[in-house]
């Protein structure tokens, strides 16, 4: 709300003082990315709905790469990035494979009493490896079905259009929705 005052020296000073205390995250995208890197997938998706600027930041594939491999130790090999990007990008990898795999396994995790941090990380690595394999199979199925390379996003590109149905071989990852309630 602008107060239309007589523009005099006092007001200008007040405005400058105000702007020193006003902090807008949108002016500091590196900070924004730092914060977003610590979020989980669901929150990231919610963040993409905030405004157009945030949406384009969140669509940055490296954020999703961080999300996919955050807990994996040792970190995946150097060639992984080019392969994943060629097959559709990290955001797609997360949506189509990593998230369903992780959530399916969470319900069935073989609990060895108190799982140590190391054990959890190793398990995550197997999960990620499985996700990568399934991701590749899914890409191949799209090749078989649609003909011509589908969705090979460039580095950090916007990836695939939302609303694409998952490939048939990954149907088993989806939990059935009970619509009878």
């Amino acid at each position: 709300m602008l107060q239309i005052d007589n523009i005099n020296g006092d007001d200008v000073e007040r405005k400058i003082k105000k702007s020193k205390h006003n902090f807008c995250i949108n002016d500091h995208l590196d900070l924004l990315i730092e914060v977003l890197q610590r979020l989980d997938g669901r929150s990231l998706a919610a963040a993409a709905c905030v405004c157009r600027q945030w949406c384009s930041v969140v669509r940055n594939d490296s954020l999703w790469e961080h999300l996919c491999f955050r807990h994996v130790s040792p970190p995946p090999s150097v060639g992984t990035r080019s392969v994943v990007l060629a097959l559709g990008g990290y955001r797609r990898l997360y949506m189509v494979c990593v998230r369903p795999v992780a959530s399916q396994l969470k319900g069935r995790r073989i609990t060895d009493g108190g799982q140590s941090e190391v054990v959890r990380r190793v398990w995550k690595r197997h999960e990620v490896e499985m996700s990568l394999s399934l991701f590749c199979v899914e890409y191949y199925e799209r090749l078989l079905g649609g003909g011509g390379g589908g969705g090979g996003g460039g580095g950090g590109g916007s990836g695939v259009v939302g609303g694409e149905s998952p490939a048939t071989s990954l149907k088993f990852l989806c939990k059935a929705v009970n619509v009878s309630i």
């Binding site: 060639g79 369903p100 990568l132 394999s133 199979v137 890409y139 078989l144 088993f172 989806c174 059935a176």
Partner: protein, 550 residues
């Protein structure tokens, strides 16, 4: 009931009913008014017998006077009474007998009064040698025998319908639990009849199975339907045509791939063994005995692409059957795989071989390069058993594999003996195996909506059932054998086993954990081989081999 005044107005144009009910008369049925209650009761009984889908499979009832409603309802009921075996008189509790499979006998635990024994009637199910269905005498008072448990009615799951107490007529009950047991026994009895070449009895039994199977919901009913169909083909000597089989087969197998984990398990475990064998190699060559759609190879190529020391040059030789429309399906699959390889940065070469039988191919045709240059892996998923249809074929192929000097041979086969010399043994083995398979499909159906995949998978398995049961000689290609049988064969052909490591086991376990509703699947390690089963029954086995050191 309309008053006589109204009735007269309504039926003024009709001739005198002569005591017949007027309303039914309008519909064309002649039923005495005095018989109305009786006919209503009979119709009710008939409806109970018809089952859920209302299909009554009485092929032999001839109706002469359709307007005589009472008459033909009665004749249908009495035909059913002579077909079916349990006749429970009102006022008595029906009991269900549990069958111990190892005994293979069922004692009919109900009081039988007035049971008719026809000497030459093909419908007399008692006249089966071996007592497959009935014990020695049916008139014995029900005494429990060794190994047979009996339960009173009122058991959960039993849907016994008790007749109204006033009815003087015998009533046919359809108890779903007992129907299931009788279904299995009728199937086995039919197979036994076929074994003994008693086609008349087998024919009657097959029809009976159809009736029972229709009333049985779920996996058991479906399996029984397929087996009954296959038996019927064997009895009537209508053998399934070949030809259109091939392309349908590949499509069906794709659906089977989608809907259940068996093929995925096969691919992942075989790939893990191949990946480990390829460690350190810079040029690799995989010979795939049944390329199909090439679904196994993307995952392997991706794993090779992400290898720590970079991907090797990957060469794939795919073998497949000729297509009915002469299209080069192999080349198309090769092309798609090449696109994938290009995307992920793996040097790729493909060659396709069309062959009617693996025995037509020998090592020389495949351009095997020296082992210093190239490491070779041979992969066979559900393919080698087909060679057992021709004598000498499997030995020839195993020799050619040896000539290829592979570093590893991966073999995935069904874990069951469907290749016994005696038809009845094969039948029983197959019945148990495919019942378990259908059970596992059914449970995954519960957690996902019924999809086309599931239905097509059942058709896929149904084709196999048909081949095992109805075909003979070189047509019978589904000659599955157990892991121990394959072990013997591989050993005598000059191969040593290679143990599948714990990585393969972990991958397999994880894969199964991903299947919603997959709580029943079990991965088992069996002396270095991995078996995937449903509950306690192993269904497929992956093993790896290498040529013996000379």
């Amino acid at each position: 009931m309309a008053s006589s005044g109204k009735g007269k107005d309504l039926h003024q144009t009709l001739p005198d009913s002569g005591g017949m009910d007027e309303l039914l008369e309008v519909l064309g049925y002649k039923v005495r008014s005095t018989d109305m209650a009786d006919v209503a009761q009979k119709l009710e009984q008939l409806e109970m017998v018809m089952g859920e889908d209302g299909i009554l499979q009485l092929s032999d009832t001839v109706h002469y006077n359709p307007s005589d409603l009472s008459g033909w309802v009665q004749s249908m009921l009495s035909e059913l009474n002579s077909n079916a075996s349990d006749i429970v008189l009102p006022g008595e509790s029906s009991s269900t007998t549990m069958i111990d499979f190892s005994n293979n006998k069922e004692i009919d635990g109900q009081q039988q009064q007035g049971t008719k024994l026809y000497d030459d009637d093909p419908y007399d199910l008692r006249a089966i040698a071996g007592g497959a269905i009935y014990g020695t005498t049916a008139e014995e008072s029900p005494v429990s025998r060794n190994g047979i448990k009996r339960m009173k009615s009122g058991v959960a799951g039993s849907e016994a319908v008790v007749a109204p107490p006033e009815s003087p007529k015998p009533v046919v009950l359809v108890d779903s639990q007992e129907a299931g047991i009788r279904l299995v026994h009728t199937l086995m009895a039919c197979a036994e009849a076929v074994q003994q070449d008693n086609m008349k009895l087998a024919d009657a039994l097959v029809k009976h199975v159809g009736l029972l199977a229709a009333s049985q919901a779920g996996a058991m009913g479906k399996v029984a339907t397929y087996f009954a169909g296959a038996l019927a083909q064997r009895i009537y000597k209508i053998y399934p045509q070949d030809g259109l089989e091939t392309s349908c087969w590949e499509i069906l197998q794709m659906h089977f791939y989608e809907s259940c984990p068996y093929l995925k398990f096969a691919h992942f475990t075989a790939n893990q063994a191949i990946l480990e064998a390829f460690a350190g190699a810079s040029r690799v060559h995989v010979v795939d005995f049944s390329l199909n759609q090439g679904m196994q190879w993307p995952a392997l190529m991706q794993a090779l692409a992400l290898r720590a020391d970079g991907p090797p040059a990957f060469r794939l030789t795919g073998i497949g059957p000729p297509q009915p429309d002469n299209t080069d399906a192999l080349q198309q699959v090769g092309w798609k795989l090449a696109q994938l390889a290009d995307t992920i940065g793996v040097e790729f070469e493909f060659r396709g071989f069309v062959a009617n039988s693996l025995a037509d191919i020998d090592a020389g045709m495949l351009d095997i390069r020296s082992s210093e240059v190239e490491v070779v892996a041979v992969n066979s998923v559900f393919e080698l058993h087909r060679l057992l249809a021709r004598p000498g074929a499997v030995e020839k192929v195993l020799d050619s594999i040896n000539a290829m000097k592979p570093k590893i041979v991966t073999l995935v086969e069904q874990e069951s003996n469907h290749n016994g010399a005696v038809f009845l043994d094969r039948f029983n083995e197959a019945l148990h195996y495919y019942s378990t398979m259908f059970d596992s499909l059914e449970s995954s159906a519960l957690s996902q909506p019924i999809s086309q995949d599931l239905v097509m998978s059942e058709v896929y398995l149904g084709r196999q059932i048909c081949n095992v049961v109805a075909c003979e000689g070189t047509d019978r290609v589904e000659r599955h054998e157990t892991l121990s049988q394959w072990r013997t064969r591989m050993n005598s052909a000059g191969f040593d086993p290679v143990h599948l490591g714990s990585n393969a086991f972990k991958q397999a376990s994880m894969l199964l954990a991903l299947f919603a509703g997959g709580d029943g699947y079990r991965v088992e390690e069996n002396d270095g081989c991995l078996m995937l089963g449903w509950h306690t029954r192993p269904l497929i086995a992956t093993s790896a081999w290498k040529p013996m050191e000379t």
